[in-house]
Every structure is written in structure tokens, then in C-alpha cells.
């Protein structure tokens, strides 16, 4: 017996295995199609590694522009960094990314400390944690002054 479209509608004896086989074949087909779509999509969703080369050295500005007991934030590659000048004129530079939850820290003039406004984390001018939630100190960079005396650039480099 056939239905109007010519498909067997009732399974005659012995056709059950064939139907089961065809069902299995269809299932394998659909599942592998789904997989071949899901794989590229899943890979696509994960972004590739950043295309930028890692920054190793950056000019933060003119030394003369940074007064003693002050600090300034500058871009180090794609992340912020901070260069500070202590009251006695020493330069030091750190990653400005707080080690707690990655807020950007700032220089606190009244206490001469590095401070994170998000959760009140405090670092000293060597980058060590004084108080607050940060689990470890800030990453410290090397500072060199380069150029004509009186017009030196502050060159900040990652420690190798």
C-alpha cells in the first residue's frame, strides 16, 4: 500500500530493518552537518590573539614636564602605565593596571602614593602594596632618561 506520493506508508514484514537503517543514516547526516556548522562557528566566536606586537619600550614624555611629587598616566602598548617622580626627583614607572580588578591607578599627591580609586588599594612608590585588596604589587618598568640635558625624554621599558 502506498500513500498518494508513492511512499510506502505501512511497513511490510522485513522492511523495518531497512527503515531503521535509513533513519540512522539520516541521523548521522544531520548530526555531521550540525557539527560541521558548529565547529567553524565555535572557532569564529573565540577572538584571535591580538595583532599588535608586544610593546617593550615607550617614550612617556619630557622629564622636565613632570614636576617632583607628581605622576602621569601614558599608554604603554594598548594598556595604561604610570610614571611618577618622587619628591626627591627620582623617576619610576609601573603598569597602571591595578592587580586587584584591573582598574587604572593614579598618583596621590597628598600622601605620595599610588592609589586605586575602585577599591582603595594603595601602593608605595616602589609599586609594593601598602593596604587594600590588591594581591601583589604593580609590574615595575625600567626608566631611562635620554637626550640633551634639560630636554630629556623619559624612556620606559619592560624589564627583560
Amino acid at each position: 500500500m502506498t500513500d498518494p506520493a508513492g511512499f510506502p506508508s505501512t511497513a511490510a514484514a522485513g522492511t523495518f530493518d531497512r527503515r531503521r537503517f535509513l533513519d540512522a543514516l539520516l541521523t548521522v547526516g544531520f548530526v555531521s552537518t550540525a557539527a560541521s556548522i558548529a565547529y567553524p562557528v565555535a572557532r569564529y566566536l573565540v577572538p584571535p590573539e591580538s595583532g599588535e606586537a608586544a610593546t617593550n619600550s615607550v617614550v612617556a614624555g619630557k622629564a622636565s614636564a613632570l614636576k617632583p611629587n607628581s605622576g602621569v598616566i601614558f599608554p604603554f602598548g594598548s594598556r595604561p602605565a604610570i610614571v611618577v617622580r618622587s619628591s626627591d626627583g627620582e623617576f619610576s614607572a609601573f603598569s597602571a593596571v591595578c592587580t586587584h580588578l584591573e582598574c587604572t591607578v593614579q598618583f596621590k599627591t597628598d600622601t605620595s602614593q599610588i592609589w586605586c580609586a575602585c577599591h582603595n588599594g594603595l601602593y608605595d612608590l616602589a609599586g609594593n602594596v601598602i593596604s587594600g585588596p590588591p594581591p601583589r604589587g604593580l609590574e615595575r618598568f625600567t626608566v631611562n632618561l635620554r637626550g640633551e640635558p634639560g630636554a630629556e625624554d623619559i624612556v620606559v621599558s619592560r624589564k627583560t
Binding site: 500513500d3 498518494p4 506520493a5 552537518t33 562557528v41 569564529y44 595583532g51
Partner: protein, 359 residues
């Protein structure tokens, strides 16, 4: 397991109506049924566009300074980004082709006759929306070709009588094609058009489900009194056939994306001279070529203006075909509208080829 879930839902939502619909829905079997597949194919390609479009949104940046670079990033750096972008472009083209084939098959079979006038109108509006998708999406990679094609295209909109200058500024977001145009086209392409077309697709499908498939008049007439056409169950017989065609379309998309990828071209430079061979997408070529052929002045009217005016009239005519073709509505032969449909296909094919040949 599935049965269990269905029972659970049935107890709460009463699915008997839906079950009845699924069990009873049939598709008439006759010699012209092959045309029924075109609507389903168009729907499938639309779904592909929605899916790949959402994926592209993850990396695309709609600004004059970053758009080109972000597409470049997608096709060169993102894993399988080339695949997603090329499937999106190819599917867009096949979608327009399928929609046109669907339109003309329905036209020639007069399936728009009473009671399916509204299905036709919603379908025509969907076709215009698809062309809008094509036009706005073409600009998004912000390359040289699309930049100048958009200049020309929006310029044509500018020659619409009366509203022209207003339309031009509305489309461009200013007097020139700039980053502001890109922002507008982006919003149009990913928010406005998808929202309207999704609603219209739902409506279009509801009409089709409500009324069932139209049977061509020639076949209806050949039936003996009391005789009924054979029906094929929609689930699963017809659906499986639909899916088979979708499989073929998917394979074709993957093959085209892999072996015939779309060129990204050079980044648009508003201060560069127009490169030779500027042309719109192929589905606007016939229109583009017509405008080129119209003399600059016809009977004192600006040629371009005349062209745009006639396209507008053709558009209005197309939307209202079911109401104008009274012979089909009354169940009589309608040779005039058959001739018009054939002339329409002929015009599109000939002018598209002519435009391709004319360098």
C-alpha cells in the same frame, strides 16, 4: 523523550490545534509543483543571512576609519572569518536571485489571483526590502567600489522629483557619502530592515499557511468535476524535500565561499579619482544600464528624472498587479499579464547582460 516533552507542553498549552495542522497539512502534487520550492529556498537563504550577519556583527566596526580594517581582520585573522563573510556575501546574491525567480514564477502562474492578493503584496514588499539589504550591505566593507557605487546610487535617489534633495541628504546623512552615511546604512542594514522584514516574513508565511498552496489554473481546469488533486503530506514528505534542496544550497554556498571568495578591494578614499569599472551589484545592473541609455533630455524632462519616475511607476504597478489583473481574479485567462511578466524577465535578462558587456 521528545514525546515526554510534547506531552508536558500539551498539558499546559493545548497543542491539539498545532498537531492537527501538522497532521493535515498537504501540498498538492502536479506538474508545476517544482515552483513551490523557490519560496522555501528564499526563506532558507534569509535564515543564513540572519545567522551569518549576527556573527559578522561580533567583529565588524561601522566607522569610516575602521570598517575596512575590521572586515580585513575578519577575513584574514579571525578563525573561519573568511568563511562567514563569504557565505554572507554569496547567500545575499543567491537570495536575491531566488526571490526574483520566486516572483516571476508566481507572476506567470498567476498565483496572486484571489484570494492571495495580500500574499503577493507582502512578497513584493519583501523583495524591495531585500534590495535595500543589498544596497546598504554593499557599502559596509567601505571599499573603493562600494563607496563610489553608493555615491552613484544615492545620487540617483537624489533625482527623484520633488523629494530628491531631501532623500539624498536623508540617505547620505549629509551632502556627501561619508562616515555618516556608513553609520546610517549600518543601522538600516542591521536593525531597521531586519525588524521590518522579519515581521513581513512571518506575515507572508502565515498567509501561505492559512490559504494553502495555490494550484495553477490550467491544472485546476483539467480536473474532472468532483475530482481532487493528489496531496503530499507536508510533514515529513514535503519538508524532507525542502531540506534536501536546502542541503544543496548550503553545499553550493560553502563551495562558492571557498572557491570564489569576494574580493575586499582597496579601502575607500574620498579624495581619489573614481576607478574604472564602477558598477552596482548585478541585480541593479539592468536599472543602471537603462539610466545610462536614456538621453539627457526627453521632451524637456531630465533623462535621469524620467528614468527614476518610470522605475517608480513600475514598482507601484508590480505591487498592485493582483488588483489590476481582473481577468485572473475572475478565473479567466490573462494573456496580457503573461506577456508583461515575460517582457519583464526579458528586459531584466537582456539589460543585465548588456550592462555586463558594456565596459
Amino acid at each position: 523523550m521528545v514525546q515526554h516533552v510534547l506531552n508536558w507542553l500539551d498539558e499546559r498549552l493545548d497543542l491539539s490545534g498545532l498537531k492537527h495542522f501538522v497532521a493535515e497539512k498537504g501540498v498538492p502534487v502536479h506538474t508545476q509543483e517544482v515552483w513551490y520550492y523557490l519560496g522555501g529556498l528564499t526563506l532558507f537563504l534569509f535564515a543564513v543571512q540572519v545567522f551569518t550577519g549576527i556573527l559578522l556583527l561580533l567583529y565588524y566596526r561601522p566607522s569610516a576609519t575602521e570598517a575596512y580594517e575590521s572586515v580585513q581582520f575578519i577575513v584574514t585573522r579571525v578563525p573561519f572569518g573568511w568563511l562567514i563573510r563569504n557565505i554572507h556575501s554569496w547567500s545575499a546574491n543567491l537570495l536575491i536571485a531566488a526571490a526574483f525567480a520566486h516572483l516571476f514564477s508566481v507572476f506567470l502562474l498567476k498565483s496572486y489571483r484571489k484570494p492571495r492578493e495580500l500574499t503577493w503584496v507582502s512578497g513584493m514588499l519583501l523583495l524591495f526590502l531585500m534590495l535595500g539589504f543589498g544596497f546598504s550591505g554593499y557599502l559596509l566593507p567601505w571599499n573603493e567600489l562600494s563607496f563610489f557605487a553608493t555615491k552613484v546610487g544615492t545620487g540617483i535617489a537624489g533625482s527623484v522629483p520633488l523629494a530628491g534633495p531631501f532623500l539624498l541628504r536623508l540617505l547620505r546623512g549629509g551632502d556627501d557619502v561619508t562616515g555618516a552615511t556608513l553609520s546610517r546604512f549600518f543601522g538600516l542594514h542591521v536593525a531597521v530592515l531586519p525588524a521590518i522584514s522579519t515581521a513581513l516574513v512571518v506575515l507572508h508565511l502565515l498567509f501561505v499557511q492559512r490559504q494553502g498552496m495555490s494550484v495553477p489554473r490550467r491544472i485546476e481546469r483539467a480536473l474532472k468535476p468532483g475530482e481532487k488533486l493528489r496531496q503530499m503530506p507536508f510533514f515529513p514528505n514535503y519538508v524532507l524535500r525542502d531540506v534536501l534542496l536546502w542541503y544543496i544550497a548550503l553545499a553550493a554556498l560553502a563551495a562558492l565561499a571557498a572557491y570564489a571568495p569576494w574580493d575586499l578591494g582597496k579601502k575607500a578614499d574620498p579624495f581619489a579619482a573614481v576607478p574604472p569599472g564602477i558598477r552596482p551589484e548585478w541585480y541593479f545592473l539592468a536599472m543602471f544600464h537603462t539610466l545610462k541609455l536614456i538621453p539627457s533630455h526627453v521632451l524637456g524632462i531630465e533623462g535621469e528624472r524620467l528614468g527614476v519616475l518610470s522605475f517608480g511607476l513600475v514598482t507601484v504597478f508590480l505591487v498592485f498587479v493582483p488588483f489590476l489583473d481582473r481577468r485572473s481574479r475572475d478565473g479567466r485567462n490573462s494573456p496580457l499579464f503573461t506577456a508583461l511578466a515575460i517582457a519583464g524577465v526579458g528586459y531584466l535578462v537582456v539589460f543585465t547582460i548588456l550592462a555586463q558587456l558594456a565596459k
